[in-house]
Amino acid sequence: MSADTPLIGDHTMPETAPLTDARIGVVTFPGTLDDRDAARAVRLGGGTPVSLWHADDSLHEVDAVILPGGFSYGDYLRAGAIARFAPVMNTIIVEAEATTASPLPVLGICNGFQILTEAHLLPGSMIKNDHLKFICRDQVLRVENTGTAWTSQFTQDELITVPMKNQDGQYVVDDATLSTLEDQGRVVFRYVGESPNGSRNDIAGVTNERGNVVGLMPHPEHAVEAGYGPNDATGLREGTDGLTIFTSVVSSLTGGNA
């Protein structure tokens, strides 16, 4: 399988006709790294990636938004702290919190998750890994909530393997919120096996109350193409478990017809 995401030049507008009417925005902040990867994953998942620029407050009528990984503004103050104030975030916050029947689905991956917590769209926060190091490894996760737009095609408690790579990945949250998250089934992904970073209750990803905003630390967009993903049971770098995130949202947006 191949996807058309050139390394050079303008990847912002797809050259091909949209595959579906699922238009998914991928935001680029200064310092964002995984925007091309996320756009590729959207395309492989059957959607149409639309590049969104941090300084532009318009979402260009996308149906969902991904805040990809990276080190926005160097993560210098705190991971995601400065990006959270970008003009595009103001609009995303409004749309994600809209009281309409279907508020904007938003996925934050790694730095994107950190931005969502800084923006208070998701509870808790991320601090340095307990071992204080950057860690890059294949990570097994359990999908514990299949009710979100981003996880609808997983089966409950499915185990998936995706890469994880971060320095500030330790999820912290106060006791009361933690019980709420657990009670309401809002832990979407949980680390399986030895904790990679000391996160409370091994939480790898959570959702908001309405289930439209999801954040997770590991990188599903790096597990969408055989040959370039994590190792899994089928072979070296063959893992494509992350793809289901992207097919899920496309399917949700197109009424299950993708």
């Binding site: 705190r78 400065i82 890994n129 307990d130 204080l132 000391g198």
Partner: protein, 84 residues
């Protein structure tokens, strides 16, 4: 040039992995007598003119909204230091 100092610390109930690592390392280097360490941040905001009450208020707001994350951190102090 006057400077406004903003000091931010991790909330007491939040884990502080950096502070913990330092606390563990201190005795190995012969520094005993400290029962715990916490690591926070210190910001120096330099001001070209005079530090008006308005500017100080603006620094307080910046400290609360941007320089700290209220979920995990407390702003310990916002003060003026004339002599830096």
């Amino acid at each position: 040039m006057p400077t406004i100092l903003v000091e931010v610390m991790p909330k007491p109930e939040i884990l502080d992995p950096q502070g913990k690592a330092i606390a563990n390392a201190l005795p190995h280097r012969g520094f005993t007598g400290f029962s715990g360490v916490r690591q926070g941040k210190r910001f120096e905001l330099s001001v070209d003119g005079e530090v008006t009450e308005e500017l100080l208020e603006s620094a307080r707001t910046a400290a609360a909204e941007m320089l700290s994350n209220p979920v995990i951190e407390d702003v310990v102090s916002v003060t003026v230091a004339e002599d830096l």
